[in-house]
């Protein structure tokens, strides 16, 4: 039997407890959780908050595609939870939650990493940083293209 999915774009605070609970499975020995949070600086500028803009319909389509691709790579038993915040967050606020569970740990680690790296390149989500000096800027990102997986091949380091 195939694993199950939860995809959402939320204007309410994201809950790690909900994510872990959703992917929990008696037949799975591992659950991996990625928590993206707002940090207090970017490119040397002190940041006080970030606003997230999301094209909900297409973002949810990309979450679905990423879950399908993850199961093709790491098995159809994966349980997958992907939720992104929409709106303004202060420092430390949770912008994205990804949880993946699997029978063994390697699959959930890899799938979780794959999903976050692909979201950064493929999901129509934007962030506007608000700086301590009162200025705000939309963050430079990755140009979208019309084809599928493009980015992830076990990168050593990414910073964005």
């Amino acid at each position: 039997m195939s694993g199950h999915n939860y995809f959402n774009v939320s204007t309410e605070p994201l809950s790690t407890e909900s994510a872990v609970k959703f992917v929990a499975d008696d037949a799975h020995g591992a659950a991996d959780v990625f928590i993206g949070t707002v940090r207090n600086h970017n490119l040397g500028k002190p940041v006080k908050g970030v606003s997230y803009d999301v094209f909900d319909e297409l973002t949810l389509k990309t979450f679905e595609e990423l879950a399908d691709e993850s199961r093709l790579r790491w098995g159809d038993k994966l349980n997958i939870y992907i939720e992104h915040y929409k709106g303004r967050l202060d420092i430390g606020g949770i912008s994205i939650l990804i949880a993946v569970s699997s029978p063994h740990r390697d699959e959930s680690f890899r799938a979780c990493r794959y999903i976050i790296e692909e979201i950064k390149h493929r999901s129509p989500i934007w962030k506007q940083e608000h700086y301590l000096d009162g200025d705000s800027e939309w963050v430079q990102g990755h140009a979208l293209c019309s084809h599928g997986p493009i980015s992830y091949d076990e990168p050593e380091h990414t910073h964005c």
Binding site: G36, Y52, D53, V54, F55, E57, L58, T59, K61, H84, S95, I96, I116, I119, K120, H121, R122, S123, P124, I125, W126, K127, Q128, W138, V139, Q140, G141, H142, A143, L144, C145, S146, C160
Partner: protein, 90 residues
Amino acid sequence: MNNHINLSIKMFGAFRKYYPGTLEITVPFGSSAQCIKSAIGIAIHEANPTFCDDELISKSALANQQRVLNDDEQITEHSSLAILPPVCGG
């Protein structure tokens, strides 16, 4: 026969500061996504002369609610589309 189509274009990310809301444009029937992006750039500039960012237009993609469109894809009916600047979720 009307050889033009009407498009509603949703704005996201960096475009919102130049044109909040939905942009309405009329383009020739069969216009490519690439041509429509150019028309969007011109329409935003007409509405807000501070907008003159050709690089933002060229790096952006046109999409419907299901998928991102190829630049050479032709639009042949009245549609609701979105202009998507480079993304940075997570």
